[in-house]
């Protein structure tokens, strides 16, 4: 994190990763997955956000998001999804960050404008609780990243980070999900959209069926 990235893509990725870490914490808090005392109020980009205090939780979120850094920088990551599962490990809700980093963006990044745009996500996120479905008991959650192509093992230096990633066994919905947009931004070097995917009303309820 502290290494100096020279390219604008590196800078963007840095900002995005940081933002994702905060946003994921906020989402987990928002869903009330853990008791409220597992979080503490912090300020990020001048917005009040919730940060996890439990070291393991912090560690998980941090490692996942920083692990994404090289791939975001290369524009390989298409979506970063926070998935909430029910007890049969069937997704019941997904928070999708759809990313597109302009690889040909050459000029100097105005970090402030990027932050300004990202701040809107956090603000919108804090008030989007009514859009979500309440979690059932025995639920779980995870962060999944969707790559445009599989991360290659080409770069020696990336090997360790690439191996952190395991293929997901996320079950898929049989119906196209319902999408509720939360926030979109189309600032030039970075396009990001946050939306909610929920199973459609007609999604069969008995998941045990093959």
């Amino acid at each position: 994190m502290d290494k100096k990235n020279q390219t604008p893509q590196g800078q963007i990725a840095q900002v995005v990763v940081e933002f994702l870490e905060v946003a994921v914490s906020c989402i987990v808090f928002l869903k009330g997955f853990y008791p409220a005392r597992a979080f503490e109020r912090r300020r990020y980009m001048n917005v009040v956000v919730q940060k996890a205090v439990h070291p393991q939780l912090v560690g998980y979120i941090h490692s996942v998001t920083t692990g994404l850094l090289p791939f975001i920088q290369k524009g390989l990551v298409e979506r970063v999804v926070v998935i909430f599962y029910d007890k049969e490990h069937m997704p019941i809700e997904k928070f999708v960050f759809k990313l597109a980093v302009n690889q040909s963006f050459g000029s100097k990044l105005e970090e402030s404008s990027l932050e300004f745009a990202l701040r809107a996500f956090l603000i919108k996120l804090t008030v989007s609780e009514p859009l979500t479905t309440p979690l059932p008991s025995d639920s779980s959650w995870e962060i999944t990243a969707y790559f445009r192509s599989l991360p290659g093992v080409s770069g020696k230096d990336k090997e360790d980070t690439a191996q952190l990633w395991i293929p997901t066994d996320t079950k898929l919905w049989m119906q196209p999900p319902q999408i509720t947009p939360i926030k979109s931004m189309g600032c030039d070097p970075l396009k990001m959209q946050l939306y909610l995917e929920q199973p459609s009303a007609t999604e069969p309820k008995n998941h045990s069926a093959p």
Binding site: P130, T133, M174, P177, T180, Y195, T202, N206
Partner: protein, 1122 residues
């Protein structure tokens, strides 16, 4: 087929061991011989065994004989008269029936029939069952062994009538079931039920009115548009159209002889009868039908007798009502593509086949099941029959005064016109007039040539009659065109082919008043050639002996498939007749013409043709192409055209019940340097390009087609001004049935397995069905009435579909996307394992759609019941309801809020807007001002006439520019550049990083501003007020206060506004879908809110929503949730 006699009873019943069945399954000789019954005793396997039940077969035979003995004993007790109703009938009951198999057995016992417990080809005469599983349906023959499979109602009805009824109407046929299934699905597509009802005339009728009335309207429209046509003639045509549509309603009867329509005798009468609206016309007809005059007016209606006419009159009323409601949309929205195809002869021929297939599918089906029996040893007799100059003779069949005069059919009667003659009668041909000739050339050759317009309804009608007769004589008919067919008489012929043909031709003439020529030979080639020689109105039999002589003198050009090039090449070698061609060896031919053509030449000149008469030909592709009158000025025109073309193709696909995977777009562009074509509006010398794309899931959806057509068109990068023709084609076709087959199968299962929520919905729908049986519903029910017993099983399903169709017809203009499309679109984005689970997907979609429609209607009633079942997403419907409330009562709160927003924006941009007069905190005032000013003063110079401006005195000019909100005091001479500058100003700003989300659709503001619609003007005004660098949603937000400006539904302004707005939104969707669904979501929420108050926005919303969902599902694999 029934081979059992009552005498069989005394003989020991035969066994039906499985092995035996296999061994003699197809032995046709044995069943009728009594001694064959003892065959099982000689079964070698049995001879080996010492114990009575050494193997299964012997056990079964013993069991069967015992059962038969018991049955006989019972029969003896019940003291049935030997000649009971069911004497000679032996039934086997398969599966659950009503009445039960036990009851059926009882009936058989008491009425001299037999009841067999174990099926055997040889003891059973009828199989009784209510419904069959798919697999048995598909292999009907294998299952039934050729025995009739009838519904139990046959037994019951026969008993009631006390005579053995024909079992044909009770038969379960493959065809019935499949068409029923198709109907269920197709009923879903509102108003597009065309072609889905295969079941018979009655259904045909219900679809026909659309066709007819629309074409009649088109006719009258044309009248306005084209000055080439004589008013009276057109009128007469309209009248005739409606007349024939009347006739179509009447179930086809043999009584319908060749009596004249009143049309020709009494033009004026018809004109008055039809000059009013369609409704009036129909009423008149209903009225006069009782008076004796009516006999001459419409003999057909009267001909069918009172009962028939009652029914048809009822239908008429209904159809008339329908047509009048329809006329609004068609008349107010003239549509080139539609009209083009309505007036295209090629289109008529092209689509005629589907119509034919639907109409005669019963016959085709019956025939194909018999087809395999193959009497190969018999000498083949093929008849080729062709109507004589069909397109002319049909039109003039009721105008005998024209029969011996030269007549040609053409769109236009303009003597200088370049319209092409499509058909000319024989007197005209004597003048050298040929098809494809321009009218002006024809007129120079024959100045007194009568040119008559097409009458497609009459063509359809005559073609139907023609094929009706052919099918009566022969079961193996290959339709080549609407007026031309091959008949394989090998099996059907009992006497002299020439006599039969003569009778057939006489009947055709008697019925249609048009002549036909026929050729007979032993293969298709010779038959076709014989017809050519026989024409006009003759017949020729080329027996195999005469074939050689005939061919010897036949010019090569006459052979089918030999065109200009080949014949020219042969002519170079001084080969002009088939006889000469025979002297050339196959190898020599191959050198010159390649393998395929040389083979063809070689065998054709010897009269060899191995092709077989095939009744059903698979459709390979479905498409539509327009190469006449295609001229675009801007991209918008081309886009609009593509949309219409896609619509046409989509309709055709749905009409055939097909879906395609490959979409091909063909574009003809003017060849460089080619001038304007000789033919008026023709395509001239063109370069043809085509591009295609294949998608994963087959589709017939309009939205998908449109999207892909647009993409393909854009990929050509052609100048739209150069485009002379466009064709869109779907290939890799699949049956819509099979594409959705799997989901259907599981319908019931998933329904049963679904949650209580679904059940609740279901109940509601069913009550709906009971409550309002409108046309669609009842006709649907009536159609399936014949299969009442089976109806119970699928009641839930079909009723549901009915409801859907009802709903969607009621919700005024909703263009619901065909259900399939959504599925298939989504399919594209799904991994393959999910594909297998499409079933549930389909079901779900259906539901989602239902929910949506029901939500659109009666909000108050349903919103409650919606919140309850939708527990999983509790908060959303609530907010939805809130939205509704919000939209409905635009109270002070709302206004306040708006003021706030406005105020804020005002502050923000106050600097820029200082000069603007309409800067005010009170939005109401703004509006009032805006409205009043709109009436007097154009908002921009683009609206003002520049020449006028230039003539004005300087001081007036200055004043003017001060007043105009968009222009400061500037020099009017540079006003043009002002305008353009303004435009770029208002659209500019995408570079502004702070406001990246900007409408960058060029020119729409200008367009809105100059439009005649108040609301558009106001929107444009809003846009400029907000300094344009804002997303569409923020502009829409302000629209709520402008809603009272909405034009009335149906007016021209309404249409303009709607098309402008929908165009803007469509572009906006395309623009934003990838990057900003939040914005689109916002826009559509706003639209939805407006739609509760304004019909315009309701229509707009419903029109664009499918597109939005389609694009969203393409990009995100899901649908937006509102």
């Amino acid at each position: 087929m029934s081979s059992c006699s009552s005498g069989r009873r005394s003989s020991p019943p035969m066994a039906a061991s499985p092995g035996q069945k296999r061994a003699r399954g197809d032995d046709p000789a044995s069943p009728s011989k009594p001694d064959s019954d003892s065959a099982p005793a000689k079964n070698p396997r049995r001879a080996f065994s010492s114990s009575p039940f050494a193997d299964f077969g012997s056990y079964m035979s013993a069991k069967n004989s015992k059962l038969a003995a018991q049955f006989d004993a019972d029969a003896a007790i019940s003291a049935a008269t030997p000649g009971g109703v069911f004497a000679g009938v032996s039934i086997f009951v398969d599966g659950f029936t009503i009445p039960s198999s036990q009851e059926l057995k009882e009936i058989m016992l008491n009425n001299g029939g037999r009841f067999v417990n174990y099926f055997s080809r040889h003891t059973v005469t009828h199989i009784i069952c209510t419904h069959l599983p798919e697999s048995k349906m598909r292999n009907m023959r294998a299952f039934s062994k050729g025995l009739p499979v009838v519904k139990p109602a046959w037994v019951v009805d026969s008993l009631a009538e006390n005579r053995l009824l024909s079992c044909v109407p009770y038969q379960i046929s493959q065809h019935n079931s499949s068409s029923r299934k198709q109907m269920k699905l197709s009923a879903f597509f509102a108003g597009k039920q065309k072609g889905m009802h295969h079941q018979g005339d009655r259904n045909d009728e219900s679809t026909d009115p659309d066709f007819h009335t629309v074409s009649a309207q088109a006719g009258s429209q044309d009248q306005n548009e084209s000055c080439e046509k004589e008013g009276s003639l057109m009128n007469a045509e309209v009248a005739e159209d409606s007349l024939s549509s009347v006739e179509r309603e009447v179930p086809t009867s043999d009584e319908r002889d060749g009596e004249d329509f009143a049309v020709d005798e009494d033009y004026s009468a018809c004109e008055t009868a039809f000059s009013g609206s369609m409704d009036d016309g129909m009423d008149d007809k209903l009225y006069v039908a009782d008076s004796p005059d009516a006999m001459s007016m419409c003999p057909d209606v009267c001909g069918t007798g009172s009962a028939g006419s009652h029914l048809s009159l009822g239908l008429l009323e209904k159809d008339a009502a329908k047509s009048s409601s329809r006329s609004h949309s068609t008349l107010t929205d003239p549509n080139f593509v539609e009209n083009y195809f309505k007036h295209s002869r090629l289109h008529f021929i092209g689509t005629w086949r589907n119509r034919y297939r639907q109409r005669f599918s019963n016959l085709l089906q019956a025939k194909s099941s018999k087809g395999n029996n193959g009497h190969m040893e018999k000498k083949k007799i093929i008849i080729h029959i062709d109507m004589d100059c069909f397109f002319v003779s049909v039109v003039i069949r009721n105008r005998p005064e024209l029969h011996d005069k030269p007549v040609a059919v053409c769109h236009s009667d303009n003597p200088k016109g370049t319209a092409e003659i499509s058909s000319a009668n024989y007197p005209a041909r004597d003048y050298g007039i040929k098809a494809g000739m321009f009218v002006r050339d024809a007129k120079t050759r024959c100045p007194h040539l009568t040119v008559v317009p097409y009458n497609f309804d009459a063509y359809g009608e005559v073609a139907d009659q023609f094929y009706g007769i052919l099918h009566k004589y022969c079961s193996k008919v290959q339709a080549l065109s609407c007026d031309e067919a091959f008949l394989d008489m090998t099996e059907c012929l009992h006497d002299n082919p020439e006599e039969v043909t003569q009778r057939m031709r006489n009947e055709i003439f008697g019925t249609t008043k048009c002549t036909a020529s026929a050729g007979m030979a032993e293969n298709m080639l010779l038959a076709r050639l014989a017809t050519r020689s026989a024409k006009p109105n003759g017949q020729l039999f080329i027996s195999s002996e005469k074939a050689d002589d005939y061919l010897n003198t036949l010019p090569i050009k006459a052979l089918p498939g030999i065109g200009y090039t080949v014949s020219a090449k042969l002519k170079c070698k001084e080969v002009e007749y088939c006889g000469q061609l025979r002297n050339i060896s196959k190898d020599a031919l191959q050198k010159d013409f390649g393998k395929k053509i040389s083979n063809m030449l070689w065998s054709y000149c010897r009269g060899i043709d191995h092709s077989v008469v095939e009744a059903v030909q698979e459709t390979k592709s479905v498409g539509a192409e327009v190469n006449w009158g295609v001229r675009f000025n801007e991209n918008k025109d081309a886009d609009n055209f593509l949309v219409n073309l896609s619509k046409e193709v989509s309709l055709r696909l749905q009409g055939c019940g097909l879906q395609g995977r490959t979409i091909t777009l063909k574009v003809k562009t003017r060849r460089k340097g080619a001038g304007e074509p000789v033919k008026f509006m023709g395509c001239g010398d063109c370069e043809t390009m085509s591009r295609s794309t294949t998608i994963t899931g087959a589709t017939d959806s309009l939205v998908t087609l449109q999207r892909i057509a647009r993409q393909l068109f854009a990929a050509f990068h052609v100048d739209v001004k150069e485009v002379r023709g466009v064709g869109l084609k779907m290939s890799k076709l699949e049956h819509a049935d099979s594409a959705r087959g799997a989901p259907q199968g599981n319908m019931l299962k998933s329904w049963l397995g679904s949650s209580s929520e679904k059940l609740k919905n279901q109940c509601r729908e069913e009550t709906c069905l009971l409550g309002n049986n409108d046309d669609a519903g009842t006709s649907e029910l009536r159609a399936s009435g014949s299969s009442r017993p089976s109806f119970t099983g699928v009641a839930s399903h079909s009723s549901k579909v009915n409801v859907t169709s009802n709903r969607s017809t009621r919700v005024p203009p909703v263009e619901l996307p065909p259900l399939s499309e959504l599925d298939l679109e989504v399919l594209k984005n799904l991994p393959p394992e999910i594909m297998s689970e499409m079933n549930d997907m389909y079901k779900g979609k259906l539901h989602g759609l239902l929910d949506m429609t029901s939500r659109d209607e009666g909000k108050e009633n349903n919103s409650k019941s919606h919140v309850l079942p939708a527990v999983t997403q509790n908060s959303v419907p609530v907010s939805n309801a809130k939205l509704h409330g919000y939209g409905e009562c635009r109270d002070s709160m709302h206004l306040e809020k708006q003021d706030d927003i406005k105020g804020a924006s005002d502050e923000e941009f106050s600097g820029v807007r200082a000069a603007n007069a309409s800067c005010s905190r009170d939005s109401e005032v703004v509006d009032a001002k805006g409205v009043t000013r709109l009436d007097f003063m154009p908002n921009s110079l683009s609206q003002a006439d520049l020449t006028v401006l230039q003539e004005l005195p300087e001081d007036v000019k200055a004043d003017l520019f001060n007043v105009l909100p968009l222009h400061g005091p500037r020099d009017p001479t540079c006003s043009i550049s002002n305008v353009t500058e303004n435009k770029s100003q208002s659209d500019g700003g995408p570079d502004d990083p702070k406001h990246p989300v900007i409408c960058l659709l060029p020119g729409w503001v200008e367009q809105f501003r100059v439009s005649s619609s108040l609301i558009l003007n106001a929107i444009a005004e809003q846009h400029t007020n907000s300094i344009s660098s804002r997303p569409l949603s923020s502009i829409l937000e302000h629209v709520s206060s402008l809603l009272p400006l909405c034009p009335n539904s149906g007016s021209e302004e309404w249409n303009n506004t709607l098309s402008c707005l929908s165009e803007l939104l469509t572009e906006y969707v395309h623009l934003k879908v990838e990057s900003d669904i939040e914005e689109l979501h916002k826009c559509f929420r706003l639209l939805k809110r407006f739609s509760s108050v304004s019909d315009l926005f309701l229509e707009l919303h419903d029109r664009i929503l499918p597109l939005l969902q389609d694009s969203v599902s393409q990009h995100y694999g899901g649908i937006l949730h509102f």
